[in-house]
């Protein structure tokens, strides 16, 4: 049997308290590892909190220096990644050197940096947030980690990003493409949008990360599966909202679960949805992290509104079986799609 063991960490990050949130991550990482999982997945902006507003500026982690180092290393070795910021996890000398540096640094900062600071504002004013990456990279030698953070680049742009770390390397960084800026959401005010839906190798399969609103655009999952993704990880910070008669779920939860089922069934993929809980200024996040199988059925689910860890197994044999029986993806006609898209774009341009 071709099994993937993974854990969903449904946590309640505290906005702006990165040290505290990192502590939460480490606790769940250890629990997932003890449960025998090979991958632990956290929600959107899990390291920083969601409605950060101006605190976006204070919460950013400068990932790009390390990413660039990795990309440079790949290029030197002729291992150009297929998809932009997707980074191969093959080891090479330069990466090893980087990792050694990171490890040395970790020995100094481990055990002291991710405790809650006792000073009044909760921030350590003397250091940047970049050490958080070092701590997580080190942990990723024990278990692969997907976590959300505010990324800043060398041009001082900020992104709502999610990283996948494994074996001390950055496997992939997804920058959220669709930034909701309506109703209670104001992401475009602070974040720059990502440019692609990358696919990366993990645990012997191909995966893609879609962040919350990304998944509401069905083109995102269409792109991901046609690039080869079999595992679609959707991390989110979705507020619970909407009362319905005779429905034991909030309207927002109902819509999410219908969407996840559609993606899983029609794209014949495993859909792993990890949503946060907790409150920010009265807005409660609904939790209910879950997994939908390629038959469109919900296999596992965590409670709504409560923290929790879910340890699960995905069976890739089952996915093969579904894809054989219902070969929608095999029959997908990309030529028609691109032809139609080009004509749509041409129509609007003319």
């Amino acid at each position: 049997m071709d099994l993937i063991k993974l854990s969903l960490a449904q946590i309640a990050p505290t906005p702006g308290l990165l040290d505290y949130n990192l502590g939460q991550h480490l606790e769940y990482i250890d629990r997932a590892k003890q449960a025998g999982s090979e991958l632990v997945i956290f929600p959107e902006l899990s390291l920083t909190g969601y409605f950060l507003k101006d605190a976006v500026y204070d919460s950013a982690i400068g990932f790009n220096e390390i990413i660039n180092k990795n990309i440079a290393a790949d290029k030197d070795n002729g291992e150009n990644s297929n998809y932009g910021n997707t980074i191969t996890n093959k080891n090479n000398e330069i990466k090893e050197q980087n990792n050694k540096k990171i490890n040395n640094k970790n020995n100094e900062i481990n055990n002291k940096n991710y405790e809650i600071k006792n000073n009044s504002c909760g921030l350590d004013l003397k250091k940047s947030n970049d050490y958080i990456l070092d701590v997580l990279l080190d942990k990723s030698r024990e278990i692969a980690i997907i976590a959300g953070f505010v990324e800043s680049d060398e041009d001082f742009n900020f992104y709502n990003s999610t990283c996948c770390l494994s074996g001390g390397n950055i496997l992939h960084v997804h920058r959220k493409v669709y930034l909701p800026t309506y109703g209670m959401f104001e992401e475009m005010r602070y974040f720059k949008k990502g440019e692609e839906f990358g696919v990366f190798d993990i645990l012997g399969t191909k995966a893609a990360i879609l962040t919350c609103e990304d998944a509401w655009h069905l083109s995102s999952s269409y792109i991901a599966v046609n690039k080869g993704a079999k595992l679609i990880v959707i991390n989110s910070a979705s507020p619970a909202r909407g009362i319905e008669e005779g429905n034991d779920k909030f309207s927002s939860v109902k819509m999410w679960e219908e969407l996840l089922s559609v993606i899983a069934f029609y794209y014949k993929s495993y859909v792993v949805y990890i949503n946060r809980v907790g409150f920010e200024d009265g807005i409660g996040f609904s939790g209910g992290s879950c997994v939908f199988s390629p038959n469109g059925e919900k296999d596992y689910r965590l409670d709504y509104l409560d923290e929790g860890l879910l340890n699960i197994e995905l069976n890739l044999d089952f996915l093969k079986n579904e894809r054989f029986k219902t070969p929608i993806l095999r029959d997908e006609n990309l030529d028609i799609t691109i032809k139609e898209l080009n004509s749509i774009i041409g129509h609007y341009k003319s």
Partner: protein, 299 residues
């Protein structure tokens, strides 16, 4: 159009809403390090619902009710408030506010030197028992209660729990810096009609559910008489105007009374100031609440 009416809180969705509100209190209170709340218990349904939620969230040892009757308050209000206190077995204090309210208004009326340059005849106004004076006394009472609650908030190291529902917040049927003031409000997004439904599932005593809604600021006051429409009709209309964001003309086309819609729409607009913080004149590059933007939960 399907489902274009205010959703009822029924036995199925109740559980989820209850869990959300209990978690809200637990987490937002816990975050401040206080872990305790204090609230004004009027004997009405709104403060009762807030109180039951607070006890579910924090336990009866961590919730304190303050009962603040005025001489004109209905005795039934105090009785009903005590029903809640006893049912939940919570700490309570009863503080009669008659002295301070009467002292202020007696002084205003009889101390002519205050109003030497005024054409207002306060003495007559008081005697005539007119609406303006009733309203002023009512507002003063609401603010006196607020000031007591915040004093107890300090004494008991407890956060003041709000008890205003969505209907009265939208209609502006409350006193700014009076009953509208609180640290956090679990029921401010729930319409009055839904509060009744919610209260039944919470187990609030029948005696509180079965009486006409009243601010009880003066004898025989009635919300619905004063507003000029019932909550059941107003809530349906506000659900369409606010939650569904339909324009008034669309709501009229759905068969609702145009005059009531207009009245409600104007009340909502005119009371916007009550729902916001004071305006600050922008002078600097970065101004509080304009472009200095953080969550209140900012840490």
């Amino acid at each position: 159009m399907i489902n274009q009416h205010l959703p009822e809180i029924d036995s199925i969705n109740f559980k989820n809403i209850h869990k959300l509100l209990v978690n809200f209190i637990k987490e937002e209170v816990g975050r401040t390090g206080a872990n305790k709340t204090v609230l004004g218990l009027s004997g009405g349904i709104d403060s009762a619902v807030s109180c039951y939620l607070a006890v579910s969230a924090l336990g009866n040892d961590n919730v304190t009710a303050i009962l603040m009757p005025y001489k004109a308050s209905s005795p039934k209000s105090l009785e009903d408030a005590m029903l809640v206190v006893n049912d939940l077995n919570i700490n309570h204090y009863t503080i009669d506010i008659t002295d301070q309210i009467d002292s202020y208004f007696n002084k205003s009326v009889y101390n002519k030197s205050y109003y030497d340059n005024s054409n207002l005849n306060f003495e007559n106004k008081f005697k005539e028992n007119n609406y303006d004076l009733k309203l002023r006394i009512g507002n003063k009472m609401a603010r006196e209660r607020m000031s007591i609650l915040y004093d107890y908030s300090y004494i008991l190291n407890s956060l003041v729990l709000g008890t205003s529902n969505k209907s009265e917040l939208l209609l502006g049927y409350g006193t700014i810096y009076g009953d509208m003031a609180s640290a956090l409000n679990p029921i401010g997004d729930i319409y009055k009609t839904q509060i009744y439904q919610f209260a039944k599932h919470l187990g609030v005593p029948e005696s509180l559910i079965n009486k006409a809604p009243s601010a009880d600021l003066w004898q025989d006051q009635s919300d619905e008489k004063e507003l000029g429409f019932t909550y059941s009709i107003a809530d349906e209309i506000m659900f369409l105007l606010i939650d569904k964001m339909y324009k008034p003309e669309v709501v009229i086309s759905m068969g609702y009374d145009a005059a009531i819609i207009e009245k409600i729409y104007n009340k909502i607009k005119k009371s916007q100031f009550k729902r916001r913080l004071p305006l600050i004149a922008k002078v600097s590059q970065r101004t509080i609440n304009i472009d200095f933007r953080y969550l209140r939960d900012w840490v």
